[in-house]
């Protein structure tokens, strides 16, 4: 979330789309209810199903699953055509005035620079024109046809209300009403927010779904302001923290880009990751990259990391390509992986195409499951009849199951969706011989280190020198780990030399051995160590700030500065400089947040700006971008700088109505498709219905089915279908049905509901099949088939998040 749970109460309009907060995040949704009751805020729900969020919304609009960009692109077109944008904000805070390159084009659904063989774009025609001074060229009048504003207008002019309705199946009057309601939020004294979840991410165009909405929020002037922002309602309790701690291949702690084979020298790597400002007087925050990276290396390799050896850069594993979970299972399926360790994760039930996953796991030499509970993944080799019909004796994988503690049995910090890290206490002793994940990792590592010290082996240097200064090496404590994450001075941190008197002694800012107060004190010369720059300062000399429980909210805006620690720098709303106008004054008295007081930036929050940068300097609010403003035209995206509607890989209409004569532009041209998976996609002739998976309010993934109370509340698997489809197929409420995709089938119960209606799309009727995915062959619930047997093994072109929210199935009564 760019804002926070408690900030939702400041919104005048809340759009819930690509999510169902009332059921999936019921307690967080209380802040939506608060805004509706106290401020008369309005709520819009856009979803393929009439869900419980829709039930309390002022306006509900149905949308065919997998068509969000068409809908939101239509909103952009309406806002630009009706001039309902926050002009001053857009000019100040976006790249609308920037000039794009003349060669940039969209030709029948494909952007310039496409290479069909590699399914990748050469992006040299995308992006901005640079002047001779090295800065981007701009047109303040926004009349130049090459400026981003005009390009944006041209791009979305095709997204007419008729086109939106034709692709999405949304009634035009409802679509237009939503445009009007959103358009009102362009007034400086109004803000609206968006709450989304996996309904947007789990598509082959997932990242662009979110980007399209972010662009709307920029056009309405809602970013960095109370009651605004783009708010991802995330999944697991610490999915935010674990992402921040670099638990995925492409990044290191705090989203430092991980080195690849192309970064063959340390200098090249730093050069790639340390951008130059693209406009005058910009903060360009990533210019600090070397400080953050070198400090991380000091945390990882301690004394062994020196300026002379480039802080052990050569020891860092280099990426040759993607190592996301889909790619790992693909490698496993090809027999290129021998071992796999799964910690608190149940991939067999949560990653698409269960049969492929099962075949892949069967090729492993060893599998290690670290979990407090039984999981389907751990039992993949066991025959559970039709629910898991495998030949046990032919599976040669050795499987280990290590008991880890559950959440109540360990202390430590978790980071919620609002980026707030909160410390929890240990409530109870572990059960049996269970141990915390950190202790299991320490035991395993110390064992390996011992073996390498004794017997040698491949490249032992990094193993033998990994910094391990924990008081009890076999049980590093959460407190010493959080101190390591926050960072400390290894030698005195000195102030920069005084330009007037360079030889004068420099002041000591942080003494050797002390915790640093924040990332501004991190240095690139080896004098500081920091496990994650984003969390720097969370354990300062003042102690563990994540353990704070202060409930003060001096402004009444829901800014609890003394409760936990929000990254970065305890900031509660990101980009909050944008809550003030060009001169540093609030956009409207009722939306006062951060402002310039004549000497410094101040307000309800920690300013997201150099505190002493006067507004006249023109330093932009989006300090992480070298251009200082937010991007409407973003070249970082795999499939184009402006989001374009593409159909799901399994499309129920078989055509992209925006480009009916170009079969190459039906689905995302830049999405990665593995060999063999293309053939595993189903066609609408055989699998005519559009399916989506989702959660129920009583269950959390395949986890809570082990809790008796939740098993009583929702004991048995089911799918939801409309009355129309039930009638067509002769299915009654409660009948057993077989739902099949091109990858497998499940047998389950049918719930026939009025909450689902067929979509009138492109001259045909598209039926939706809704599939809750909580069941499996373990647990207190009635055993059920794994829903992800059905889902396709293809991911978003940028994030590789699988397309679980739009795929094709058939339904038959059994």
């Amino acid at each position: 979330m760019t804002n926070s749970w408690t900030d939702i109460k400041n919104a005048d309009l809340i759009l819930v789309m690509g999510g169902n907060a009332a059921e999936a995040h019921p307690v967080g949704f209380k802040w939506v209810v608060e805004a509706m009751q106290k401020r008369k805020a309005r709520l819009i729900s856009v979803d393929p199903r009439f869900n419980r969020t829709s039930a309390v919304a002022d306006l509900y609009a149905p949308i065919r699953n997998g068509t969000d960009i068409a809908f939101l692109g239509g909103v952009i077109n309406w806002l630009l055509s009706n001039d309902k944008i926050h002009h001053d904000y857009v000019k100040l805070n976006t790249d609308a005035t920037f000039l794009t390159k003349p060669g940039f084009a969209l030709n029948n659904g494909i952007f310039s620079g496409y290479d069909e063989a590699t399914r990748k774009y050469d992006k040299s025609t995308w992006g901005y024109q640079l002047g001779e001074d090295g800065y981007v060229k701009v047109d303040e009048t926004m009349q130049d046809p090459l400026c981003v504003y005009q390009q944006l207008k041209k791009h979305y002019s095709r997204y007419t209300p008729e086109m939106v309705s034709n692709i999405c199946g949304t009634p035009q009057d409802k679509f237009l009403k939503i445009c009007e309601m959103l358009g009102e939020m362009s007034a400086p004294d109004k803000t609206s927010t968006i709450c989304y979840a996996l309904g947007w991410t789990q598509h082959t165009v997932g990242s662009q779904n979110i980007r399209t909405m972010a662009m709307i929020q920029l056009l309405l002037g809602n970013m960095g302001r109370p009651g605004g922002g783009v708010n991802a309602l995330r999944g697991h309790s610490n999915v935010q923290g674990v992402t921040d701690m670099n638990a995925y291949a492409e990044v290191f702690s705090g989203y430092l880009s991980a080195p690849t084979d192309k970064d063959d020298t340390y200098e090249k790597y730093l050069k790639r990751c340390t951008p130059k400002a693209m406009r005058p007087n910009q903060f360009n925050y990533w210019s600090n990259f070397p400080r953050f990276f070198n400090s991380l290396m000091k945390s990882y390799y301690g004394k062994a990391a020196t300026p002379e050896n480039n802080f052990c850069y050569d020891w860092v594993p280099k990426l040759e390509g993607g190592y996301d979970v889909l790619h790992m299972f693909e490698l496993m399926h090809q027999g290129k992986m021998n071992g796999f360790i799964s910690q608190g994760f149940n991939p067999l039930a949560t990653v698409p195409n269960k049969n492929k996953l099962s075949a892949a796991l069967s090729k492993l030499k060893y599998l290690v499951i670290i979990d407090p509970l039984e999981t389907e993944t751990g039992e993949f080799w066991k025959n559970y009849g039709p629910l898991n019909d495998v030949k046990t004796e032919s599976i040669q994988t050795e499987v280990f199951r290590l008991p880890s503690t559950c959440f109540a049995e360990e202390e430590g910090s978790l980071t919620n969706s609002s980026r707030i890290a909160i410390w929890k206490e240990r409530a109870v002793e572990p059960q049996g011989e269970a141990k915390p994940d950190s202790e299991i990792m320490a035991l395993l590592f110390m064992k390996l280190r011992q073996m390498y010290a004794k017997d040698g082996g491949a490249f032992p240097d990094a193993i033998l020198n990994l910094a391990w200064d924990y008081a009890q090496p076999l049980e590093p404590s959460a407190t010493e780990l959080l101190r390591e994450i926050s960072g400390k001075a290894l030698s005195d941190v000195l102030a920069p030399p005084d330009p007037a008197n360079p030889s004068a002694p420099r002041a000591v800012l942080v003494k050797a051995g002390q915790q640093v107060p924040g990332f501004a004190m991190l240095r690139d010369d080896g004098s500081t160590a920091c496990g994650n720059w984003l969390y720097s300062g969370c354990w300062s000399e003042a102690g563990n700030l994540t353990a704070r429980r202060g409930l003060e909210d001096p402004t009444g805006l829901g800014v609890y500065q003394n409760f936990g620690f929000a990254w970065p720098a305890n900031r509660r709303i990101l980009y909050n400089r944008a809550s003030a106008d060009k001169d540093g004054k609030p956009w409207a008295p009722n939306k006062k947040y951060e402002y310039w007081n004549g000497k410094a930036w101040t307000g309800a929050d920690i300013p997201d700006m150099l505190p002493t940068a006067a507004p006249e300097i023109g330093m932009g609010s989006f300090i992480m971008n070298p251009e200082g403003v937010a991007r409407l035209h973003a070249i970082g995206m795999a499939e184009g700088p402006f989001p374009e509607h593409y159909e799901p890989f399994e499309t129920p209409i078989g055509v992209n109505p925006l480009h009916p004569d170009n079969p190459k532009a039906i689905s995302n041209p830049a999405a990665r498709v593995f060999k063999g998976d293309l053939e595993a996609f189903g066609k609408k002739e055989e699998f005519p219905y559009s399916a989506t998976t989702y959660r129920l309010t009583e269950h959390f993934h395949t986890w809570s089915k082990h809790a008796r109370l939740n098993a009583i509340l929702q004991p048995e698997a089911f799918v939801e279908i409309s009355e129309e489809l039930a009638k067509e197929k002769g299915i009654k409420h409660g009948d057993s049905v077989k739902v099949s995709s091109n990858r497998g089938h499940i047998v389950t119960k049918a719930v026939v509901t009025k909450r689902i209606k067929p979509f009138p799309v492109n001259g045909q009727k598209v039926h939706l099949v809704g599939i809750p995915f909580h069941w499996g062959f373990t647990g207190q619930t009635k055993p059920g088939y794994i829903a992800n047997t059905l889902t396709p093994f293809v991911g978003d072109a940028n994030s590789q998040t699988p397309e679980s929210k739009a795929f094709l199935v058939n339904v038959e009564k059994v």
Partner: protein, 195 residues
């Protein structure tokens, strides 16, 4: 009056007993017998956070057991923490059922192994589990570690064992997990954030 939650229960419990005795005709001075107090008054409370979704509701977890070695403690009650500014004491149906997850019969209590081709789990000790797993890891790493790529660039990576990191584990556990995995040269690292 400055009173914590446990004292409040004690006082109100005593007050309730006293007033009932009066109603039954006993005078307060005769009320020397002690009534049984709520179990909660003997419980220890810890502040925790719901493990399920990312609202991260505050939880108060009550356990019985005095912390001595021979007394096994166990969770008897879980409720929302009213002093959490986000959840303000609420729990949803998932969080409200969390005690049954802590005490689930599906909890894994001991290290186990399923041998190649085997039909059942077999209980083993931690030492054997760690010995066997680290042997597998070292064998695989030593056989498949790449120090350079085809172009001669130093890459120092281990691609043939992958790691999925838990998204409900603490920041500290996940930081250490990744530090170890990267230290070993692993590149196949992912988490639930992906799916």
């Amino acid at each position: 009056m400055d009173m914590n939650r446990r004292q409040f229960f004690r006082v109100s419990g005593a007050g309730l007993a006293a007033s009932s005795l009066v109603a039954l005709g006993f005078s307060p001075s005769a009320a020397l017998a002690e009534t049984r107090a709520f179990k909660l008054t003997r419980a220890t409370v810890a502040r925790s956070i719901c493990p399920y979704c990312s609202v991260s509701c505050g939880m108060l977890i009550y356990k019985l057991g005095d912390g001595s070695k021979n007394a096994k403690d166990h969770v008897i009650h879980v409720e929302g923490d009213p002093d959490n500014p986000v959840s303000r004491g609420s729990l949803c149906p998932k969080g409200a059922g969390v005690m049954d997850m802590i005490n689930s019969p599906a909890r894994i209590k001991y290290p186990m192994v399923r041998e190649a081709g085997g039909k059942e789990w077999k209980r083993i000790g931690w030492a054997e589990a760690l010995n066997r797993i680290s042997k597998h890891m070292k064998d695989d790493r030593d056989a498949n570690f790449q120090t350079t790529n085809a172009a001669g660039t130093t890459v120092n990576r281990w691609t043939s064992t992958g790691f999925l990191v838990c998204s409900s584990s603490s920041n500290e556990s996940s930081y250490l997990t990744v530090k170890v995995a990267r230290g070993l040269g692993m590149v196949g690292i992912d988490t639930q954030a992906r799916v």
